[in-house]
């Protein structure tokens, strides 16, 4: 039994209204695996980096009990690099640089020791690669969660729609839900997307929280209002990783457990944005997480 995370392990350079970084370590699989590892101790990743990627960073993942056997290191090549600048609302951003590098021909090889995968997190990546991973698993995982973004809707919609058919949970933001469905109302958008394959849809709304849709049920999760948001990069990946990590921990897939998984994912994401990159999400204690979850409980509780 294990939780497999695929996605990017990469470099980011980030500019927000509050500051700017040089190249720092990022990537969907980095954030998601770090987050998942707080709840589940058999997290494994499949990803690719160049030989410019620091060994110390790989060791850091291992120190968090993340199995990196499936992390390919391509000699003489460079890691994926993304640079972006956030607008004042911190929900929208401009991409300044995208250098695919090793990602251009990424073939997601699944080590045989990974075939015990029960929980699969498809981090944001080419839908074709996400699909390949599903096909290369001998047994269909108990729960497949897929994250994606508008970029793939723009340039690889057919592949995306094919992949979406194969997953249980789709996580996208509100603008992406509108784009994918062609519906402005999120309720109508969700209804449409739930006919495309996924049984559960999570719409992430940044500082406004998240919505979970399943059949006719809706759960609205709050976001913790924060005084300081330094950097939203990786918040969505952290959320998804925390979400699936908690689901793997509880082991039963249902709406109520997903509600809690969203709260846990949101709690971790609320830490992620407090510092640039993975700094905060790498160094949390169980006590800090429990206290943050408690804040979420008090934040939205009422008795009428």
């Amino acid at each position: 039994m294990s939780l497999l995370v695929i996605g990017t392990v990469a470099f980011d350079a980030i500019e927000t209204p509050f500051g700017k970084t040089d190249k720092i370590v990022g990537g969907a699989a980095t954030y998601a695996s770090l987050a998942a590892a707080y709840f589940y101790d058999k997290v494994k990743i499949v990803a690719v980096v160049g030989d410019d990627f620091p060994q110390s960073e790989i060791k850091d993942l291992n120190n968090h009990h993340i199995n990196t056997e499936g992390l390919q290191i391509k000699a003489g090549e460079k890691s994926f690099f993304w640079s972006g600048k956030y607008h004042n609302d911190m929900n929208s951003r401009d991409t300044l640089i995208t250098e695919l590098n090793v990602l251009a021909d990424f073939d997601p090889i699944i080590p045989s020791s990974y075939q015990d995968c029960e929980y699969l997190m498809l981090g944001n990546l080419t839908p074709q690669v996400q699909q390949t991973v599903i096909k290369r698993l001998t047994n269909r995982p108990k729960l497949i969660v897929m994250d994606t973004m508008n970029f793939w809707m723009d340039i690889a919609l057919n592949d995306l729609l094919e992949t979406i058919k194969m997953v249980d949970v789709l996580t996208i933001n509100d603008a992406e839900a509108r784009q994918l469905s062609g519906e402005y109302s999120l309720v109508k958008a969700a209804r449409k997307i739930l006919t495309m394959g996924p049984k559960y849809l999570i719409i992430k709304k940044g500082e406004h929280g998240a919505l979970l849709f399943h059949e006719d049920k809706i759960f609205s999760a709050p976001a913790l209002p924060l005084a300081e948001v330094f950097d939203p990069t990786g918040a969505g990946d952290t959320f998804a990783g925390g979400f699936i990590g908690y689901m793997a921990k509880v082991g039963t897939v249902n709406f109520n457990n997903m509600k809690n998984a969203i709260i846990l994912g949101s709690a971790l994401a609320s830490f992620c944005v407090e510092k640039f990159g993975t700094e905060k999400i790498k160094n949390l204690t169980k006590e800090e997480i429990a206290a943050r979850v408690d804040e979420f409980v008090h934040l939205s509780k009422f008795e009428i």
Copy 2:
């Protein structure tokens, strides 16, 4: 004991992505008093209209047990008229026409029978007029709730700041909280605004719900995800009216009661947007309201 609502009683012409109306009855005091009257039976209004305002509409208010003794009817003059067009996000709008008419020299006369006012709702209006009402009440009400908007921050900031000092609860939207405080983070914005006079701040976020701030406490209320939002006009006024109506009903001013008041206000606002103008908010049953509140409970409840 009574609940006094001041604000506009007026005509609106509205365009949304979903349709368009001719001149229909609107105004902050109309929506707020109709909403408050669902929870409290001693609602009184102070407002001004021209003789173009239909008597049947005034009777309609009276049928909802709203006292209109303080509604001035100016012979030979015209009622306030506003026309606006909503953007696709339904959170922002352009004002197309503003004809002040009777509002230009509105002197809010308080009938002596209104001096039993314990709950005062200052609907969106010139801050100077809002302030005059507070000063003309012999006894300071137990609870003063003030709604306002960016327009007054632009053209009458000093008056606005003077009036804010005198109230208990301020309700504004997120963009307005940012404008008023000069802070982007809503937590920092709230901290600043809570030093300006109000002990409670409600930040309305449209389809994303609302935040209540008081001392170091925050409550995050969800908004009901709706398949159809026809017209957001009056939703904020309906919310405020429902809020203060519920506070008047329970009679004790504290954070916990305000949390419930926000849920009740949000429930009424969620009806308001389902049809153009006051149509929906005029014709609700107690059962419909209870069922909607139940939806809010299920929407945001989790047990972790």
